[in-house]
């Protein structure tokens, strides 16, 4: 490719919808393959949620005997929290890969190639969704093998899968925006405590009704509590429209804002070059 071609492509990347979809799928595929080639980076997002779920269900099983406990067993209660935890860890790690691409120059090569600009961001988000869907499958498979039950059956399973994918879209959009703005894997990893706080200051690990004081107030305001409770509804209660509103619409709303943030970050980066 000559310098003239590069310059032309940089100025006018192809804009047809089919091409954009094609580019997005190829970049998603590349990103998924990249994740699979680094099992050490992906493993914590599977191991830690499962470990915490096993620990919680062995430690707090007694709590599930209380009359107002929202699940038949602690294992059933903790399944949704484990999915959310895994998805958040994986989304952070995926954004870290994007920052590494920027740091190592691959991102610049993408920019001078005839790739649709939005595909660069959306492709990365697509891979986070693929990983999230596989996490939901693996986690639910393990939970069901250990005696958990999905009260809402197949619809609940689909509900949990879609919710996990939308949450991955929301979080990876936000984290990708941070990655594009900073171009530094350290900054992305440095924002991990924010994810940690979102997770712990919510009802991901324990029901809100047993919390007290300011902690309960924070958990009630935390959108993550409502997403998790919607997902817990699929696991533990009869099917209800409220579950879809909380588990699907909240992540979808956050995803819309975070994708805009990611694309804006890309646009700013392009304008600065």
């Amino acid at each position: 490719m000559t310098a003239a071609t590069v310059a032309t492509n940089h100025v006018a990347p192809p804009r047809s919808f089919t091409t954009a979809v094609h580019h997005t799928l190829r970049l998603t595929q590349r990103s998924v393959l990249g994740r699979l080639r680094q099992p050490a980076a992906l493993a914590p997002s599977f191991i830690f949620p499962l470990f915490f779920a096993a620990l919680g269900s062995a430690s707090f099983q007694r709590m599930s005997k209380l009359p107002d406990f929202p699940a038949s067993s602690f294992l059933n209660y903790t399944a949704a929290g484990a999915i959310v935890q895994g998805v958040l860890f994986a989304a952070t790690s995926s954004a870290g890969d994007l920052a590494t691409d920027i740091e190592q120059g691959f991102f610049e090569r993408l920019l001078v190639s005839p790739v649709t600009r939005t595909a660069i961001v959306i492709g990365r988000l697509g891979s986070a969704m693929v990983v999230a869907i596989s996490q939901v499958f693996v986690f639910l498979g393990i939970f069901l093998a250990f005696g958990a039950r999905i009260e809402t059956g197949v619809v609940g399973f689909i509900g949990l899968t879609v919710s996990g994918a939308l949450l991955a879209l929301a979080m990876s959009g936000l984290m990708s925006g941070i990655a594009i703005r900073s171009g530094s894997p350290e900054v992305v990893q440095g924002s991990f405590p924010m994810v940690f706080a979102l997770l712990f200051l919510s009802s991901s690990f324990f029901p809100r009704q047993y919390m007290t004081g300011w902690y309960k107030t924070v958990a009630s305001w935390n959108p993550m509590s409502h997403v998790v409770e919607g997902m817990q509804g699929f696991m533990n209660q009869p099917l209800d429209v409220d579950q879809f509103l909380r588990a699907w619409l909240i992540p979808l709303g956050i995803a819309t804002i975070s994708i805009m943030f990611g694309l804006r970050a890309l646009s700013n980066r392009l304008a600065a070059q």
Binding site: A58, S59, F200, Y215
Partner: protein, 271 residues
């Protein structure tokens, strides 16, 4: 600092005529650890923030579970846990510092220094206690602010400090042993995993009587359960020898094994 350490060592060599006094070498290594903290505060901040955040998160989220088990205030249960965990974070600093010294060649110069080999292990271990002091103190202060009970009096805090110091020493010796063998960043990650799993597979979250199945079986034989019992006793009730000796013995045995692990790792490195 490198120069000052070498100067310290050579001064000692001149004084006693046949090598640097081990304790002065260890002292210089402690000062080096603290200097690293001052020069790279960003690497030290997480070891302060994480125990405090975990204390707040655990006592807020799981408070009901420990209250159900008869604990008056969740802080009584989670302050010792997070003090011990905060102390263990110093081990990661020890591992990172050692890897950095190996990469820059400074560790080779230390190996050539005319001093006892154990001084090279005692120094970083003592440094880990210095690193642990701030997070442990902060966790205790937050505990008091959160209404922590201290029926055991000042001795209760003393035992929290004893347990935290013991685990800081054990974790740092383990980190040294692993780093001498692996000689890369993977040692710090593995150290983190080992400490994490040892602490959480004990009575970290709830008392033994509240646990079910496999966790009860694992926590019963995990020495960390005895260490946490030692640390918690003065916050949950009176201090008794019955709740003390098991923790002290567990620390002593783990310390012996981890020091042997570190020394043998250092010897294997020299070969």
């Amino acid at each position: 600092m490198n120069t000052s350490l070498v100067n310290d060592t050579s001064r000692s060599s001149v004084v006693d005529g046949h090598g640097g006094r081990p304790l002065s070498v260890s002292g210089a290594l402690v000062r080096r650890t603290l200097l690293r903290v001052r020069r790279m505060p960003a690497a030290f901040v997480p070891s302060i923030v994480m125990p405090v955040f975990q204390l707040i998160a655990f006592s807020g989220a799981f408070g009901a579970a420990v209250r159900l088990a008869g604990v008056k205030n969740a802080m009584d249960w989670y302050v010792p846990l997070n003090a011990v965990q905060g102390a263990s974070f110093g081990a990661m600093g020890v591992s990172f510092g050692l890897i950095n010294d190996m990469q820059t060649g400074f560790f080779d110069r230390l190996l050539m220094a005319p001093t006892k080999r154990w001084a090279l292990i005692v120094g970083p271990m003592a440094g880990s206690i210095a690193r642990a002091a701030l997070p442990v103190a902060l966790v205790i202060v937050i505990g008091f602010l959160g209404g922590m009970n201290v029926p055991g009096g000042p001795l209760a805090i003393f035992y929290v400090a004893v347990a935290a110091t013991g685990i800081a020493l054990v974790a740092s010796a383990f980190a040294l042993g692993l780093t001498y063998r692996m000689r890369n960043m993977g040692a710090a990650t593995l150290t983190q995993f080992a400490i994490f799993f040892t602490i959480f597979l004990s009575t970290s979250q709830v008392p033994l009587s509240n646990m079910a199945g496999w966790l009860h079986a694992v926590a019963r034989v995990n020495p960390m359960t005895n260490v946490l019992r030692l640390a918690r006793q003065g916050l949950l009730g009176d201090i008794t020898w019955n709740d003390t000796w098991g923790g002290l013995l567990a620390i002593a045995v783990m310390l012996f094994v981890s020091c042997w692990f570190a020394l043998s790792g250092l010897k294997s490195l020299e070969k």
